[in-house]
């Protein structure tokens, strides 16, 4: 391993960037997988609940708004990720690059 690589890996600002990115990535990925699992679960596990009407007198099953909710949540999570990246992670990246004179 070159000396430069070692310096970067030991740099506090690089370590902070890695930690922050991992935290955001893992949280967002978990939320996304959870929402997808919720939808697939509705098809394989709790079918009766998905089939129940949204409210008394309605014929729209809970599964339909649940599907639209999952679709919207997936798009919303991506919007949040971009905002977090631009306002937090990109700032950390710039700082790390500056600290390391890259």
């Amino acid at each position: 391993m070159s000396e430069k690589t070692q310096v970067i890996l030991q740099s506090p600002s690089f370590k902070k960037l890695l930690k922050a990115r991992a935290k955001v990535r893992i949280t967002m990925t978990a939320l996304s997988l959870f929402s997808y699992a919720f939808f697939v679960g509705g098809i394989v596990l709790y079918r009766d609940w998905f089939a129940a009407p949204v409210m008394d007198g309605s014929s729209i099953p809970i599964g339909i708004p649940a599907t639209v909710f999952v679709i919207c949540l997936m798009v919303l999570l991506q919007y949040l990720y971009i905002k977090l990246s631009e306002q937090y992670l990109d700032v950390l990246q710039k700082k790390a690059r500056k600290d390391l004179s890259l």
Partner: protein, 541 residues
């Protein structure tokens, strides 16, 4: 138009105009306008496509909104529009798994893949996986995986297109495939990725406009009462209330889970989708592209839910769309029939032309990715050891594009009587079982070695092909056996797991000097991927 029909009839006397009485002039006019417009785009793009970088990735200069719309245009295939609405029409709620499944991979593409891929790669995902692993073996398996996926995806699109156009325009299957092949050859060889991108943007815009118009019209027909759609749909459908609840189609939970996994992870390994990440200048633009793409697709798939359920009411009860009790054109034509109910021949013509345009755009994207795999990954990187003659490389790229078109057209004519669904399964399963595990572990797992990646890729490829052949779609539907040896159509849950386990075990057992070198390079890769230290090289390459 009549002149064109006459010329085609002269050239292909044996198989032109299978059903000329069914020709819809509104659709032909819309389609011809689209073709003229996109050929103009190709001519414009050809003035700007003078290098390999311009050909493969439009020089990395596409904006986030343009790239996002083009990604949506690339991914919202005819299968999405016609297939999902058709499935909802047939089975109701269970059809939604395809709508959500098609979207499920995109958040992961953004959170986990897009930034690192953009920072590490140049033109193809093979660049990324070979960043720290040994070039020759890893490029070989990644390129085999890419080309296999692209050719199968191409054949699936062309077979579907041939059948669709046979019905929509009254042209014969062979002529339909030939028209698509020639048009795509022109788009790709003349205009490269820039022309392909703009064809996809135009197509996505038309598709979203058409779907929106259909939804507004159908809501007007239903007096803007969403509840009424579900009440009437369940009242007229032979399955009754069952269409409003899960379980009418996916009776086996494993089948639903494995299809969900295939759709999500298959997307993350599709080479033509990954390639679009390199058409933008930096990581931030790649991120925003993914968001725009997801937003457009999320809207589109939500609209398909309304269209699918409304079609049950407006199409299944209309005797004009049935012949001897069978829906004309099968369930894939439901959305087109619905457009006729809502807007007469003009809307039907427009939506038919959009469906045709959809196929052109998807096939063009596939051809660019396939030609890049051949000329960049094999010729420039492996044969010329990263020092190719730029002119020869560009020439080879164009030859590869034409060759791929002919291969795709040839196989699709041979496969015209095969089950389209079976062909369409294979690329997603292979992408999920070969490309995705190699890509994700190469970027995130330090201990992955070249031997592990190659072994896992080979296991993923062989097992996915074997289990698809032994599954119901081939073993029962094509071979004619009474029962499938493997019970599931989409085996990615099993084949992808096998690939991951093989990569893990072989890499852990690999104590060679090469393995140590692979692991050592992980740190350099980590720095490049997180700090974007080499991204300018990628854009300028």
């Amino acid at each position: 138009m009549r002149y064109l029909l006459s010329v085609s009839a002269f050239l292909f006397p044996n198989f032109v105009f299978a059903a000329s009485s069914g020709i819809n002039f509104a659709s032909i006019t819309t389609f011809l306008l689209f073709v003229l417009f996109t050929l103009g785009i190709s001519y414009w793009a050809s003035k700007r496509t003078k290098s390999s970088a311009a050909f493969y990735t439009a020089g990395g200069q596409i904006s986030a909104k343009q790239n996002g719309t083009a990604i949506a245009g690339d991914f919202m295939s005819a299968a999405s529009f016609l297939g999902i609405t058709g499935l909802i029409y047939s089975v109701g709620f269970d059809g939604l798994i395809l709508a959500v499944g098609a979207l499920a991979g995109w958040p992961l593409m953004l959170f986990v893949i897009s930034e690192r891929v953009r920072n590490l790669g140049k033109f193809t995902f093979t660049d990324v996986v070979s960043y720290r692993l040994q070039q020759r073996p890893i490029k070989a398996i990644a390129t085999v995986g890419s080309i296999t996926v692209i050719v199968l995806y191409l054949v699936a699109q062309l077979v579907g297109a041939g059948k669709l156009i046979e019905l929509l325009f009254g042209l014969s299957y062979e002529v339909a495939v030939l028209i698509i092949g020639i048009l795509v050859m022109v788009y790709v060889t003349v205009g490269g990725m820039l022309a392909t991108t703009w064809v996809q943007i135009v197509k996505a815009t038309l598709l979203v406009f058409g779907v929106t118009l259909m939804c507004i019209l159908l809501m007007a027909v239903m007096n803007f009462n969403v509840d009424a759609i579900f009440i009437e749909a369940s009242a007229v459908h032979p399955k009754g209330d069952q269409i409003l609840q899960p379980g009418s189609f996916f009776t086996d939970p494993i089948q639903a889970i494995t299809i969900a996994i295939t759709m999500m992870c298959g997307l993350l390994g599709l080479p033509h989708v990954l390639m679009r990440i390199f058409t933008v200048a930096d990581m931030g633009t790649a991120r925003r592209s993914m968001f725009y793409a997801s937003g457009i697709m999320g809207y589109f798939y939500t609209m398909t839910i309304l269209i699918g359920f409304s079609a049950i009411i407006l199409v299944s009860t209309n005797p004009d769309f049935f012949n001897n009790g069978e829906l004309i054109g099968g369930t894939n034509m439901v959305a087109i029939h619905l457009s006729k109910v809502l807007g007469g021949d003009i809307l039907m013509g427009f939506m038919s032309a959009v469906a045709f345009a959809t196929i052109l755009a998807v096939v063009a994207g596939l051809i660019v990715a396939g030609s890049a795999a051949i000329s960049h990954d094999i010729y420039a990187e492996l044969i010329c050891k990263r020092n190719p003659d730029p002119e020869k490389e560009l020439k080879l790229t164009r030859i590869a594009a034409v060759t791929l078109c002919f291969i795709g057209m040839g196989i699709s004519i041979l496969f015209q009587y095969q089950n389209v669904a079976f062909i369409a399964v294979m690329p997603l399963v292979i992408a999920a079982s070969v490309n995705f595990p190699i890509l994700i572990l190469a970027m995130f797992w330090r201990d992955l070695t070249t031997k592990g990646a190659v072994a896992g890729g080979v296991v993923g490829l062989i097992s996915s092909v074997a289990l698809i052949v032994l599954g119901p779609k081939v073993w029962v539907s094509i071979v004619g056996a009474p029962m499938a040896i493997f019970p599931y159509d989409y085996p990615a849950l099993f084949t992808m797991t096998a690939a991951f386990i093989t990569m893990f075990v072989v890499s852990k057992l690999d104590h060679s000097a090469e393995a140590a070198e692979d692991r050592l390079k992980f740190d350099k890769q980590l720095i490049a991927s997180e700090l974007a230290t080499e991204v300018s090289v990628a854009a300028d390459h």
